[in-house]
């Protein structure tokens, strides 16, 4: 990816993500529901952002848009200068493939597929050669401390281990942004703290992290906390790292 000018990591502090007046309406007519009501939000490169808010506040919808999985009904979403709201479905997929990594609350690993094959998956779509794929995936597993577990399927791994495999899968492509949707939601405190340590470590290597959580303890790891309420980002606190 060295020949891709877009892949150059922006300098810390540059706005990487900008939401301008983003609204999202589901359904139409009387049954319609406005999940986002004009969100303005900015994320600088290298930041660690926690998005907090009660359920139904619109934080998941916001994360889906930030993850280029969904498009706003109105408003602008700029990612590295791309107007994501104008991109096609496949163009957004390519954007995700190149720049984004995902970690989900439910781990979302492929069942009956060993850890290594799970981590290799994003590389497969990048068209990497088998050997390079294997090496990168093993490297990523080593970074999350699971090198010895590469041939275990999700069913043979604990929740914390599964989430670490998921993180390895998210960072194996060296993404610019890692989106984590309640990454500790299904884990006990000790496992949760391990995951947060991992995220913090990857953040230090320059990966911007966007994390949805409703636990203040986890949000404490972030440098920026955005509070979402009733479809709006109503407060952004910056914390000393």
């Amino acid at each position: 990816m060295g020949d891709d000018p877009g892949a150059a990591r922006p300098a810390l502090g540059d706005p990487l993500i900008q939401l301008r007046g983003v609204t999202k309406t589901f359904g139409s007519g009387a049954a319609s529901f406005q999940a986002l009501r004009g969100v303005d939000f900015e994320v600088t490169a290298g930041d660690f952002v926690a998005v907090m808010g009660p359920s139904g506040s619109g934080k998941s919808t916001m994360m889906n848009i930030l993850g280029c999985l969904d498009v706003p009904t109105a408003g602008e979403f700029l990612f590295k200068g791309f107007h994501v709201e104008q991109l096609t479905r496949d163009e957004r997929a390519l954007l995700r493939r190149r720049y984004l990594g995902f970690v989900f609350q439910g781990f979302n690993l492929l069942a009956r597929t060993n850890a290594l094959e799970n981590v290799e998956l994003p590389l497969l779509y990048r068209g990497e050669k088998p050997r390079a794929r294997r090496e990168a995936a093993m490297g990523a597993l080593a970074q999350v401390g699971l090198a010895d577990w590469w041939d275990h399927t999700p069913a043979e791994l604990s929740g914390g281990q599964q989430q670490r495999v998921a993180i390895a899968r998210a960072i194996v492509t060296s993404p610019q942004v890692l989106l984590a949707d309640e990454p500790t939601g299904n884990l006990d405190t000790a496992r949760s703290l391990e995951i947060m340590e991992l995220l913090t470590r990857f953040n230090r290597t320059g990966i911007t992290i966007l994390m949805v959580t409703h636990e203040a303890e986890m949000a404490a790891y972030a440098h920026t906390v955005a509070h979402v309420r009733d479809g709006l980002v109503d407060q952004v606190e910056a914390r000393a790292p």
Partner: protein, 404 residues
């Protein structure tokens, strides 16, 4: 295109992961391909068997009989038999005729000591052996002198030999046939079953004059076997014989022939055509089961797409474009269908190899039908895999990820 290798790998992994389900999915294709290929293979064998049996009647042989068709048929007086003058006329006047063997048929019980055997007696000339390409296994055929004198000598088929003489050497022995004491001068090679299920070896051959004088009591010839020079066209020779016989039998103008000329080559073609049509028909019926197999694949692939919605969501979130997901499911369907096709081909090979001897047809491996069946099953994978694959590709990643 660069995705094809990994996609193939994914498809194979997926099939390996669900071995039983994959097998059940392709069972329809397996049975369909096996049915089509077995039918066609056996059908080809049957066609070859018919060809073989017909050629057993003699190569380049025209059989000339009085009457129309196979029976004597219809009302009116029975058409007259031929006589030896007709035989001579055809032999001498028609170009392309090698030999003409007359046949005068009778039957009777052959008796020797305590053994007796009811059999067919054919009066003919030594030309018969040439026309039929039928050699003696021991002894000799009739001499000209024996033919002209109407001597009581005979050449016997192996069935008659077995029943009258057991393991004794029959040469020079005598047996009684009706009121005739007849000397065995030769035995025929064993021929086995004829094209119409008759035992060709159950026969006693005598000089035609002997049969005419001592058994049938007339000078009639029931059948003439005309061997045609391979360099001549049997159709032309048939026409010459026809016009010659019409003249000799005084049939003029539009009046129908009162004899028929049976061209074995033509009959062979007709019968082969019939078995070919039957083969095609059976193959077509079997092809319907292939189609049903294809629908089976679509059914399971649709279930699979629903079942793997979350997986599709993960792939889409990770950055797979719709085309890649489509390709993955399509390749999976095609690989499944091809696997089914290969298993079906092997099964067909085994089945037709095992069944062919039971049906008494030769086992004929036909490369073409195997290739066609394989390509067809791959095609079924494409056609019936496309719809489920497109459905997978069009899933919304957010909904797919939320799918339980």
């Amino acid at each position: 295109m660069s995705m094809l290798g990994p996609t193939l790998l994914l498809a194979l992994r997926e099939i390996r992961r669900h071995l039983l389900r994959s097998f059940l999915t392709v069972l329809g294709i397996v049975i369909g391909v096996a049915a089509v290929v077995t039918m066609v293979t056996l059908g080809n064998g049957a066609t070859a068997a018919v060809r073989e049996q017909i050629s057993g009647l003699g190569v380049n042989i025209l059989q000339v009989r009085p009457g129309q068709g196979f029976g004597r048929g219809g009302g009116g007086p029975a058409p007259a038999d031929f006589d030896m003058d007709d035989v001579a006329a055809i032999r001498d006047q028609v170009a392309g005729v090698v030999v003409v063997a007359p046949l005068s048929q009778s039957s009777g019980t052959a008796v020797r000591n305590a053994a007796n055997w009811s059999t067919t007696v054919n009066g003919t000339t030594s030309d018969y052996f040439t026309a039929q390409q039928w050699d003696t296994s021991s002894g000799r055929t009739f001499s000209v002198a024996e033919e002209q004198a109407g001597k009581a000598v005979c050449v016997i088929g192996s069935t008659v030999q077995r029943n009258l003489f057991r393991s004794e050497d029959p040469l020079g022995q005598r047996f009684r046939l009706r009121d005739l004491s007849c000397e065995v001068i030769g035995t025929l090679m064993t021929r086995g079953q004829g094209g119409f299920g008759n035992d060709q070896d159950d026969v006693v051959l005598m000089p035609i004059k002997t049969v005419q004088r001592r058994m049938t009591g007339n000078r009639n010839v029931r059948l003439m076997m005309v061997k045609v020079d391979p360099a001549y066209d049997t159709t032309a020779v048939t026409a010459s014989i026809q016009s010659l016989l019409r003249e000799r039998r005084n049939i003029r103008g539009a009046k129908q022939d009162d004899f028929n000329i049976f061209d074995t080559a033509q009959i062979s073609q007709t019968l082969q055509g019939t078995t070919r049509i039957l083969t095609a028909l059976l193959g077509a019926v079997a092809a319907v089961s292939l189609l049903v197999g294809g629908i089976g694949i679509m059914n399971i692939m649709l279930v699979s797409v629903t079942e793997r919605t979350r997986e599709i969501g993960i792939r889409l979130a990770i950055g797979a474009v719709g085309r890649e997901v489509l390709l993955q499911f399509l390749v999976e369907a095609i690989v499944l269908a091809c696997l089914g096709g290969v298993i079906g081909l092997l099964l067909a090979l085994l089945a037709s190899w095992a069944v062919a001897p039971l049906l008494q047809v030769p086992f004929m491996f036909d490369v073409r039908i195997n290739v066609i069946a394989f390509v067809f099953s791959a095609l079924i994978g494409v056609i019936f895999g496309y719809f489920p694959a497109r459905r997978a590709a069009q899933l919304n990643p957010i909904d797919a990820l939320r799918h339980e």
